[in-house]
């Protein structure tokens, strides 16, 4: 069940990344995509009736799989690093072009350089 939810979140994230023109919204969409992968990984480790994977000597309860949670810890830190740096770059671009609209930034950039206007061959 949670697995399907993670697929739907992935789809929503991709749609937001593609359809919205605001750069900050695109970064939020990227964060949603990353979060959906984390949800997927954690939901994979689920065991029916399982408890959190903390086990003291002598206990024999059913535990959920601890590996996906270990993977997810690393993935969260990596996603945090990516978002922080992407945000810094968005900030630099926005301060330079005074707009958060991705298409307008591209137009301004291609107006500064005319590299797409030269004939081919």
């Amino acid at each position: 069940m949670a697995t399907i939810v993670s697929f739907v979140l992935l789809g929503i994230g991709i749609l937001a990344l593609v359809l919205r023109r605001d750069l900050v919204i695109k970064l939020l969409a990227l964060g949603l995509i990353n979060a959906s992968s984390i949800l997927f990984l954690v939901s994979i480790g689920n065991r029916p009736g399982g408890r959190a994977p903390i086990q003291f000597p002598g206990e024999t309860a059913v535990l959920v799989d601890p590996l996906p949670q270990a993977l997810v810890l690393s993935a969260i830190v990596v996603n945090f690093a990516i978002l922080a740096l992407a945000l810094v770059f968005v900030m630099i671009l926005v301060e330079r072009y005074h707009t958060t609209d991705a298409q307008r930034i591209e137009q301004e950039m291609s107006r500064e350089t005319d590299e797409e206007e030269t004939p081919c061959l």
């Binding site: 996603n79 350089t113 030269t118």
Partner: protein, 516 residues
């Protein structure tokens, strides 16, 4: 032991480069010497036939992280070493902050680790490290165009790695291990089941974003073209190869033969098409990176041992001449004031002498003049191709390469009025020497009979034929203009095209699985 020491030592030197920042140049020298010793140790162990591998952490092979030294990993690690040596020599006298040295050392260390690791999640983390470091290196100059190109790179790469992570999760849910060696029998036992198709498609799509496959790596032309020359050389030469290496490891586990051949052909043909119509020469070189990866993928998809060795040799050769071309073109552009062919032709006397020679050697290498690097590797590759179809595609790609490099001819041959600086010239000498003397290097990588067969008459005839046809076509179409759709490289379309590529891989896996 050398398997884990190579990356760890590089990381340590990276950290030392920013803590003891005065010593960063001697540290770089020490790094290369130490790495050469470790690589030699590894090569000797491999030559003796002793299996080199270790498992990190307190666990057995399927549980801890395993690293194995095999021929493929050793080759790419040596390529990373050679290119990082060239780049470090090239930037010897440039004023760069210690932070730049940290990034380059981390990049090389991560490449070493990717060459040897057998664990899928470890590969994911190393790719994310490579993504971040490449992203920071591309944006180092802080120009708006560089920042925009590297931002697109980061977003698309993160998206691709998320798909990879979904694939890793699916594989783990069904197999309970992330180790490539342990996965092989488990996946083979359940061939054709839906989860195998799903995870193979997700993993392949994810890695292809990093590996330079056309539909997935649409960030590549802008990012590689707008970076500093030294950074472009490293990215095109080594970092892309790490993605290709991971594709090879996946191909050992999943039935990726048909997807590799089809993706390789698409990348090769579309890459050449865009390269022919590109005017910014740095962008043209970046498109060429995409198309040359096509050769490597076709070779590996053909699945015969000779073709695999040929693909390996071509990956190394491509790293060498692409790095040389980026370094020398970047230097020439800096002297002349622009990287498009009109500016370069107008001011062709301003290109330094050693840079000009380097450009000539690089161009000859990439168009496949015998007996330079490109010709050797392509010949071994073609020897291994089983049927006529891939053979024709490879020959067409050679013709297209010659055609697009015709743009270089107007400014290649002239008298230079400027001398090159010593660091640049030494870097060119190292790379150019390896390209010209590639035949003995390919003997080390493959075997003597293969390399002797590479110099056979059929290959020489094919190579000269492609040179003539390509040159003729260039003279014919020189005056024409053509525009290919540039919209696919925008940030809005690229994720959708990645998804379309995923569908393609999924469909190919269905077809391929049904056939065999």
């Amino acid at each position: 032991m050398p398997l884990i020491l190579l990356p760890l030592l590089r990381f340590l030197i990276a950290i030392l480069s920013i803590t003891v920042s005065r010593a960063r140049r001697p540290l770089a020298v020490a790094a290369h010497v130490a790495d050469a010793a470790l690589l030699a140790w590894l090569a000797v162990s491999l030559a003796h036939g002793t299996p080199v591998g270790l498992t990190l952490g307190s666990g057995s092979a399927g549980v801890g992280i395993s690293m194995t030294g095999d021929r493929i990993g050793m080759t790419f690690a040596a390529l990373a070493w050679g290119l990082s040596l060239a780049v470090n020599v090239y930037i010897w006298r440039d004023r760069l902050r210690p932070y730049f040295f940290l990034l380059v050392h981390l990049l090389v260390g991560a490449c070493y680790a990717v060459s040897f690791t057998q664990d899928l999640f470890n590969a994911y983390l190393l790719f994310e490290l490579l993504t971040l470091v490449s992203f920071l290196l591309v944006g180092y100059g802080r120009q708006p165009r560089q920042i925009w190109a590297s931002l697109r790179y980061l977003i698309l790469s993160s998206f691709g790695m998320t798909l990879f992570l979904f694939g890793v999760g699916t594989v783990y849910a069904h197999c309970g291990t992330l180790d490539v060696g342990a996965l092989r029998p488990l996946v083979a036992a359940s061939a054709g089941e839906p989860w195998v198709l799903l995870s193979a498609a997700l993993l392949t799509a994810g890695v292809s974003v990093k590996a330079g496959v056309f539909l997935f790596s649409l960030w590549l032309p802008a990012a590689h073209a707008r970076a500093m020359p030294a950074v472009s050389a490293l990215l095109s030469g080594v970092v892309i190869k790490m993605g290709v290496l991971e594709l090879f490891r996946l191909a050992d586990v999943f039935p990726l033969r048909l997807p590799l051949i089809v993706l390789g052909s698409i990348t090769g043909i579309l890459g050449i098409a865009y390269a022919v119509t590109a005017h910014d020469l740095k962008k043209m070189l970046a498109f060429h990176t995409l198309s040359q990866i096509g050769y490597v993928l076709i070779g590996f998809g053909a699945d015969t041992p000779t073709a695999r060795l040929g693909a390996l040799a071509y990956a190394v050769a491509h790293g060498l001449f692409k790095a040389l071309l980026f370094l020398s073109l970047g230097d020439a552009a800096a002297h002349v004031g622009g990287a498009d062919d009109r500016t370069l032709t107008e001011h062709k006397a301003g290109i330094p002498r050693a840079t000009r020679i380097a450009l000539v050697v690089g161009v000859l290498g990439i168009v496949g003049l015998p007996p330079l690097a490109g010709f050797d590797a392509k010949a071994i590759l073609e020897d291994g191709l089983p049927s006529l179809g891939p053979h024709i595609v490879v020959w067409l790609l050679s013709v297209g390469t010659v055609l697009s490099f015709g743009k270089f001819v107007p400014f290649l041959f002239a008298r230079s009025s400027v001398r090159s600086e010593c660091p640049r010239a030494s870097a060119y000498g190292w790379l150019g020497g390896l390209i010209v003397a590639f035949w003995p290097v390919s003997v080390l990588m493959t075997s003597v009979p293969l390399c002797l067969a590479a110099l056979g008459a059929t290959h020489l005839i094919e190579s000269f034929a492609s040179l003539l046809v390509g040159a003729g076509l260039y003279l014919l179409v020189r005056r024409h203009t053509m525009r290919l759709p540039q919209a696919i490289f925008r940030l809005e379309e690229s994720p959708l095209i990645i998804l379309l590529g995923f569908f393609l891989v999924f469909a190919l896996l269905l077809i391929g699985g049904g056939a065999g």
